[in-house]
């Protein structure tokens, strides 16, 4: 084979072609989600267990202090609701990453990757699809929480949407970056132990940062540098119609960084999934 034959034909793609691709990937993800009812239920049960059981026991723990964005005293379950919303997205992001590994093992990924559209676009579509699924889960959780008398101001349900999209993208991109390094499905337990749990617990999801500072300054800094903390705070402020600029900057910055990392990692010429010299180059 000549090297000329290997060079893809350089031509631009029309918007319609891009949309067809986006549509295909989002639909596949949506169908996969809808067909796995257990996954939807388990995605809801996890935060609800935290809300109904864990928060109920810790009602008096928070102590009396009004911190922004709250304007009055709140119960613990009201405090952890935004943290649980972010937790849904964290699990969803990791679940998408798991499905990437699965796709690669089963060979489905080849179908995706042979698409002539640019790699970054394919990965972005996948990311958007995962984020859309996480939004469904979060709003279902908010609905149940509302019946439990954990309600944000009515406008908060709209203002939280952009924050959820951004945090969903960040956590999805992180999942994608991690998935590029996982060779086998069995290794996913490691993701649980090394990514999900530390990220969730060392954040402001369960306790406000001032509380953590009181007990351990070192842990406070760990929490402060955890992007998940900022995702939680971004959601928390947006739910009450307010903007936390620092959180926005951190979440936005991390989204871009993780995304670039994932695109590089999935680039066959230099990525982490490269399993040896690519054939046909000599």
């Amino acid at each position: 084979m000549t090297s000329a034959a290997m060079t893809p034909i350089q031509r631009g793609f029309s918007l319609a072609e891009y949309l067809t691709c986006l549509n295909g990937i989002v639909w596949r993800e949506a169908l996969r989600f809808l067909h796995q009812r257990e996954r939807f239920i388990s995605a809801l049960v996890r935060p609800l267990v935290w809300l109904f059981i864990f928060a109920a026991g810790f009602r008096q723990v928070l102590g009396l202090s009004i911190i922004p964005p709250y304007e009055t005293y709140i119960l613990y379950e009201v405090y952890i609701a935004p943290g649980l919303m972010a937790m849904i997205q964290l699990f969803n992001g990791m679940q998408s990453s798991l499905s990437m590994v699965y796709d690669r093992e089963m060979g489905n990924m080849r179908t995706l990757l042979v698409s002539p559209l640019p790699r970054w676009f394919l990965l972005s579509c996948k990311l958007l699809a995962g984020t859309a699924v996480s939004l469904l889960q979060v709003y279902a959780f908010l609905l149940i929480a509302w019946f439990w008398d954990i309600a944000a101001p009515p406008t908060g349900y709209l203002t939280v949407l952009p924050a959820l999209v951004l945090s969903g993208l960040m956590l999805g991109a992180l999942g994608m970056l991690i998935s590029s390094g996982i060779k086998q499905l069995e290794n996913f337990a490691g993701v649980m132990n090394f990514v999900i749990f530390p990220m969730f617990f060392a954040s402001s999801a369960l306790y406000p940062l001032w509380r953590i500072l009181e007990s351990s300054p070192m842990l406070y800094y760990v929490c402060l540098f955890n992007p998940f903390t900022h995702a939680v705070e971004l959601i928390r402020f947006a739910l009450y119609g307010q903007m936390n600029w620092i959180a926005l900057a951190v979440v936005g910055g991390c989204t871009i960084a993780f995304m670039i990392g994932a695109i590089l990692a999935y680039d066959p010429s230099r990525g982490l999934i490269r399993r040896g010299p690519a054939g046909g180059e000599t």
């Binding site: 005293y73 709140i74 406008t155």
Partner: protein
């Protein structure tokens, strides 16, 4: 098919956007402004709160240990009982300063103004008496001997009966306002703090701090017909100490401050059932409605703040820092 779906999606988005904007506009429209005066027992001041911005606009220096506080009927002055100075001070609302004082007995705590706003009945905690003051003449008209440590004061809607509760005697004394004599004593639970009539004169409610109950008394029969008790999961019953009571004008809903339980109970005033507990600041004591009954403000003594309750939504919407140990509250249109 897909086009239809897209159109539907657009329609939903538009609907969401418009309804969101409508809610936002409704929320942004300011309610008519009232001013709330809050007596701060420990810092010897009165905080003035603007109900539009929910901020403290002025702090007025008053005498020592201010507690009971009430607007005059014309809304031009505020009376505040300064217990350690043994008098009732008069704040000019326009000038926002103390301009005069009325003679009470020793250690005045709570007081009630009659319907015309001409006569003031003051409970003097240390003297076991109720002092009657002519507001215009600034003169004492007489005294009524009551039980030990008198506190709660309420006048019946027809103006004929004055209720005084005595903390140590555990009684609600029914006083005839014409003869100025006690006509009945009703025994209630330990340490009665506050009394409140329904506007139709069908019931008078008396809160018992130590007893942990609110006694509902029939003013015609002058006997307790019902006792309301409170239960909050995770709290010891001793922490539930009912004090201030707020009753809506239609007599359908009542709010009871539960002191160190840091909660206000919402009570269906017809069935006498507790329907909800609202979390407010520490040691919630007294409360007052805005004249339009949209909001109810509570004083939280230990956390030094005032919580704002949206009455229709039955939700706490805000908490505002005031002086030390906020105790009483009165609200009017300036």
């Amino acid at each position: 098919m897909q086009v239809e779906l897209k159109e539907d999606g657009l329609r939903i988005w538009r609907y969401c956007l418009f309804s969101g904007m409508a809610v936002w506009l409704a929320a942004a429209t300011p309610a008519s402004a009232f001013i709330a005066y809050v007596s701060n027992e420990k810092s010897n001041t009165v905080s003035v709160i603007d109900t539009n911005s929910w901020t403290v606009t002025k702090t007025i220096k008053v005498g020592q240990r201010p507690r009971g506080i009430e607007f005059t009927r014309d809304g031009k002055f505020v009376f505040v009982a300064v217990g350690d100075d043994d008098s009732i001070q008069v704040i000019d609302v326009a000038k926002q300063e103390v301009v005069d004082s009325l003679p009470s007995g020793p250690d005045p705590e709570l007081f009630a103004l009659d319907a015309d706003g001409k006569i003031l009945y003051v409970a003097n905690e240390n003297d076991n008496t109720v002092t009657i003051i002519d507001v215009e003449k600034r003169a004492r008209l007489g005294e009524i001997q009551v039980g030990v440590e008198p506190e709660g004061m309420a006048i019946s809607p027809d103006g004929k009966i004055l209720i005084n509760t005595s903390e140590t005697t555990n009684m609600a004394h029914f006083i005839d306002t014409t003869t100025r004599e006690i006509v009945a004593n009703v025994l209630v639970d330990a340490r009665p703090r506050y009394a409140e009539f329904k506007r139709d004169n069908s019931e008078v409610w008396v809160s018992s701090e130590i007893g942990g109950t609110v006694s509902v008394i029939d003013p015609a029969k002058r006997e307790v017909t019902k006792k309301i008790s409170f239960e909050i999961p995770g709290l010891r019953s001793e922490a539930i100490q009912p004090v201030g009571i707020g009753m809506t004008k239609d007599g359908k809903t009542a709010f009871v401050a539960l002191g160190p339980a840091n909660r206000v109970a919402v009570v269906d005033a017809v069935s006498h059932k507790v329907t909800k507990y609202l979390l407010v600041g520490q040691r919630v004591w007294h409360m007052a409605f805005t004249p339009d009954e949209k909001y109810l403000l509570t004083t939280n003594g230990v956390s030094n703040d005032v919580s704002v309750i949206d009455v229709a939504a039955q939700k706490v919407i805000k908490t505002i820092q005031v002086g030390e140990l906020p105790w009483g509250m009165t609200i009017a249109q300036p």
